[in-house]
């Protein structure tokens, strides 16, 4: 495979796919789903990564709860159902992390709580933010390998996957400050501007909550659109970085913007369709999410249902990646166009003897 030739081909194509006939984007979506389905190991891998990231803190939480309950009979009711009095007592006496054990962790409220916290910029404990940073770093590391696999549209060996992870991790680390800065501006400046100043000004003399709610929905839509725009840009920057083996991340962002501009309709439609799938997953989980739970069996059954939901969420995220890769390849490249860096393997020791 002549990677340099492919890169030249990629650079030479300046139309950015704009000349392509408009498509509904569903082809890329289904192709993306197929690519995700063809590599279940990746789904398993990211699920494992999520699980492994969450387990240590959960162990801490478990120990903290067990320690608080001690030999108390309160544990009986807490194990059997919901011991409200113990629950609020634990919250009041626990540390920063322990105080996050609120009723909002129960069932679908957990999803609402996290989305609402994002939309309203609610604080989370510092330790959780550090954990989140580590998790994002892990995703950043895996993203290169994932995109490389989906772009190749064929099985890759694990060393290939991880070598791609390594190669693109370094590049994505250079992209990270731009991503971080963008989201920082959005949350530190745009969010307060929209939800404090604009919202405050719009609703200052409003006497109907319904009106205020619709104003807020509008502002969520604006802020959400900005987040999506940033997210889309960085997604395609990563896709282009991997597919076209780009080293300049600034160049990848510029290329991403060019691609989105020239194919805006298809890109937006694809993103929206993925978004609808995401909402569908949430809706299904809202219907089946476990409540407080009773006996051990029900608890673990509920836990299994929740894990299936989390798998579905991860699948949606991967479909985003895969379908965006597919769309880009459909418009501007092809499956065989992947130009990930070839990893030179060391020679085996036998070579010395043979040569010698």
């Amino acid at each position: 495979m002549n990677m340099s030739g492919q890169r030249a081909e990629g650079r030479g194509q300046t139309a950015e796919g704009g000349g392509q006939p408009p498509s509904l984007g569903y082809g890329a979506l289904f192709d993306g789903m197929a690519r995700v389905a063809q590599s279940p190991v990746i789904l398993g891998c990211v699920y494992l990564a999520t699980l492994v990231t969450a387990v240590p803190f959960s162990m801490l939480m478990r120990d903290s709860i067990a320690s608080h309950l001690g030999n108390s009979l309160a544990a009986e009711e807490a194990a059997r159902g919901f011991n409200y009095r113990w629950f609020i007592e634990y919250q009041a006496q626990a540390g920063e992390l322990g105080r996050t054990l609120r009723t909002t962790i129960i069932g679908f409220a957990a999803v609402l709580d996290n989305l609402s916290a994002l939309a309203d910029k609610e604080a989370r404990p510092a330790s959780m933010l550090w954990l989140g940073a580590a998790y994002l770093l892990l995703w950043l590391f895996l993203a290169g390998g994932i995109l490389d696999r989906y772009a190749r549209k064929r099985p890759t060996r694990s060393w290939e996957f991880f070598s791609a992870c390594g190669v693109y991790f370094v590049r994505f680390l250079r992209l990270a400050p731009v991503i971080g800065a963008t989201y920082y501006v959005l949350f530190a400046y745009v969010h307060p501007f929209l939800f404090n100043e604009i919202y405050g000004s719009l609703t200052r003399d409003v006497t109907a909550e319904r009106t205020a709610f619709f104003y807020r929905l509008g502002l969520y839509a604006i802020f959400g659109a900005l987040l999506i725009a940033a997210n889309m840009t960085f997604d395609y920057a990563k896709v282009r970085a991997v597919v076209e083996d780009r080293r300049s991340m600034i160049g990848a962002i510029a290329a991403s913007l060019r691609f989105i501009r020239r194919n805006f309709s298809a890109v937006a439609r694809l993103y929206a369709t993925n978004g609808v799938i995401f909402l569908a997953v949430l809706l299904v989980y809202a219907l089946v999410a476990p409540g407080v739970g009773g006996t051990s069996l029900r608890v673990w059954l509920g836990f299994a249902v929740a894990q299936i939901y989390l798998l579905a969420r991860l699948w949606v995220r991967l479909v985003f990646f895969a379908s965006e890769t597919s769309l880009f390849q459909e418009r501007l490249a092809h499956a065989g166009y992947v130009a990930s860096a070839e990893v030179p393997l060391p020679e085996p020791p036998i070579v010395e003897q043979v040569v010698g």
């Binding site: 067990a66 962790i105 309203d120 995703w139 200052r204 003399d205 409540g291 991860l314 995220r317």
Partner: protein, 643 residues
């Protein structure tokens, strides 16, 4: 037949007194004309006050509350305290026109014991509580001669007010006006002849004598209006205004509201044994479907408070559903109160019913029993909180925990988490948060502003609830009923309540009140250990060690459960720091519980109240940690959006 006769007698006894029959001394009577300029957001008023000194000594001066001056600037005592409070946190969105003021343009004596005189130039502002020279919420007018006890004077007072953007449940948002604490209001001369006229503080509001209010309010043409009392007259004026006249006897305050948006609904409360009450609801259009929920809460109070303490005597009550973010919800005034609901409000969220129960309940504990809220805030808020939550438990069992997301607009009902009287009603978490910050017997206006809520509401509610569990509801009901009957339309002090409590219960409850009211005792009992040794076939000696970790003392029981399922109760006076129960039994003890019936609701740590030799902490911890882990995983996935 006897039952019907008794019911009839009860109704007759609680009917409105016939004309001229006074329930109260009626020593502070107001006749007020006020005009609202909705555009300029001003009130122009004139009041004729007929005041009789019913205090214990001559009054050489007059003192008035000018509440609106609390928001005249950022230096008033109210605003300074707001900086320390979480109740009314300081707002950074205030604009120049958002502040308030009340300026007296003239004060004249026009009749009574003193000769006619213009007192306008004698007005001064005083700050009896904190000496804050920037505070103008109390006006003093020295008199040329004192007014002796029993003497009456008539004053004519004119003033102009700027209506604020709502502070402390009064003000204007859009075209919704709620006017509370809006007129110059005379203070109270106490039994020792001293004025009791406190500055306006961030968490204390009322204390006034009873009287008759005859108020004429002029508002833009045809704007619906509701006020304390009943409408006596309505006329449209040639200047595109409407004047309403409202009248009410035997109350100690007057509030009103107007907005062109109000919908009006009415209903009638009827309950055998109680006098009927006409209920009038002024509703926001977006809450039209929730009218019955407001009435239901009000009915709950009229019924249960009426049966428990004494009937509501006024025959009419007005419920106000305030405008969104007007900050005027959840407030009581005589014969009128505000509630506050949400546009999206599932039935399981009983906040609206609970608030209606609470604020309607203030007609008893604040309205009729006129305690001094500046000094003894727990007497109206705490007693009412206790009674309100008890009524909730009777009538609102369908309540569930509801948490709101996305700016507080989107409710989520936790079907598994039932409304709990102690947690959601009495507010045990709030009580625990302010355990030792202040002593309840300290005058309420001196409480540390941040923790005034627990002291006024949750702590007294919990110690009253504890008394209920210790003495039984019939005794508690009799105690409160006696207190109500004895102090209706009077100004009781805490000692009066404690006296009634001792008399009715036939016990000396002083040591309990010393701990919860005159001190800030912390109650915490726990079981430290349960152990058993075999003494032969079918014979075990079990030791149970029970400790008192806090300084609060309360007699408790200890429930010991044995391996064969049998139980045994032991009593402990709770006085020592610890005690041990050594019990010989045919099987070993497997668990012990101190205060197993949870009588002592003031115990700050219920988890340590029990000890079992077969703990299930691992199962419970695994269950809740697993649920928490799902939440954490979901949080991580939400953040993964950014990569």
């Amino acid at each position: 037949m006897i039952r019907v006769g008794l019911a009839l007698l009860a109704v007759l006894l609680t009917l409105e007194p016939v004309c001229g029959q006074e329930r109260t001394p009626r020593n502070a009577n107001y006749s007020i004309d006020v005009k609202l300029d909705a555009q300029r957001r001003t009130l122009t008023g004139r009041e004729t006050l007929t005041w009789t000194n019913i205090g214990g000594g001559p009054a050489g001066e007059l003192q008035f509350h000018l509440y609106y001056n609390a928001w005249r600037n950022r230096d008033s005592t109210w605003m300074r305290e707001a900086k320390l409070s979480e109740w009314w946190p300081p707002r950074d969105d205030l604009q120049a026109g958002d502040f308030a003021s009340i300026d007296i343009s003239s004060v004249k004596i026009t009749g009574g014991a003193l000769p006619a005189a213009d007192l306008t130039t004698r007005m001064t502002f005083i700050a009896p509580d904190d000496g804050n020279t920037d505070d103008r919420t109390v006006m003093s007018i020295p008199l040329s001669a004192p007014i002796a006890p029993g003497e009456t004077i008539t004053l004519d007072i004119a003033w102009v007010s700027n209506i604020p953007r709502p502070f402390a449940r009064t003000g204007v948002v859009g075209n919704y006006f709620f006017l509370g604490q809006w007129f110059p209001k005379i203070g109270v001369v106490d039994a020792s002849g001293n004025w009791n006229c406190h500055q306006f503080h961030v968490l204390t509001e009322f204390f006034a004598d009873y009287g008759v209010y005859d108020v004429r309010m002029t508002v833009p043409l045809a704007w619906p209006l509701a006020a304390t009392g009943v409408e006596r007259e309505r006329r449209d004026n040639s200047d595109a205004t409407t004047t309403y006249r409202y009248y009410q006897e035997d109350v100690h305050d007057f509030a009103w509201t107007t907005s062109p948006d109000f919908l009006e609904r009415t209903a009638r409360f009827e309950q055998p044994g109680l006098p009927p009450v006409e209920m009038r609801l002024m509703l926001q259009p977006e809450h039209a479907a929730q009218a019955e929920r407001h009435f239901e809460g009000t009915r709950t109070t009229l019924r249960y408070y009426g049966e428990w303490f004494g009937a509501y005597p006024y025959g009419h009550i007005t419920i106000i559903d305030p405008a969104w973010h007007s900050e005027t919800g959840g407030m009581e005034y005589p014969t009128l109160f505000t509630v506050g609901t949400r546009w999206l409000n599932p039935l399981a969220d009983i906040y609206v019913e609970d608030t209606a129960v609470h604020e309607a309940g203030h007609q008893w504990w604040y309205g009729m029993v006129g305690s001094n809220e500046f000094e003894d805030a727990w007497m109206d808020e705490g007693i009412n909180q206790y009674a309100n939550v008890r009524a909730d438990a009777e009538a609102l069992a369908h309540g569930r925990q509801v948490i709101r997301f996305f700016g507080g607009f989107v409710p989520w009902v936790f079907g598994d988490v039932r409304w709990d009287r102690v947690i959601d009603g009495d507010g045990i978490a709030s009580y625990r948060s302010g355990l030792t910050t202040d002593i309840q017997s300290t005058a309420a206006y001196k409480w540390w502003p941040k923790d005034a809520g627990p002291l006024a509401y949750s702590k007294p509610a919990l110690w009253l609830h504890t008394l209920e569990r210790a003495l039984g509801w019939p005794m508690m009901q009799r105690m409160l009923q006696t207190f109500f009957e004895k102090w209706r339309f009077k100004h009781p002090r805490p000692g009066d309540f404690f006296l009634v409590a001792n008399e009715v219960s036939g016990r000396d409850l002083g040591p309990f009140f010393d701990q919860v009211y005159r001190g800030s005792a912390v109650f915490d009992y726990g079981v430290e250990n349960v152990s058993s040794i075999s003494k032969g076939a079918n014979s075990f000696m079990s030791d149970i060690v029970v400790r008192r970790y806090g300084d609060g003392i309360f007699p408790v029981e200890v429930l010991i459960t044995f391996a064969d399922g049998s139980t045994r109760r032991e009593a402990w006076d709770g006085g020592g720091r610890w005690t041990r129960f050594s019990i010989a039994h045919r099987s070993r003890a497997v668990s012990a519980q101190v205060d197993p019936d949870q009588i002592l609701l003031l115990d700050i740590n219920i988890t340590n109240n029990s000890f079992t030799t077969e703990p299930r902490r691992s199962q419970a911890a695994a269950k809740w940690a697993s649920k928490w882990m799902v939440w954490l995983q979901d949080q991580l996935l939400t953040w993964a959006f950014f990569v």
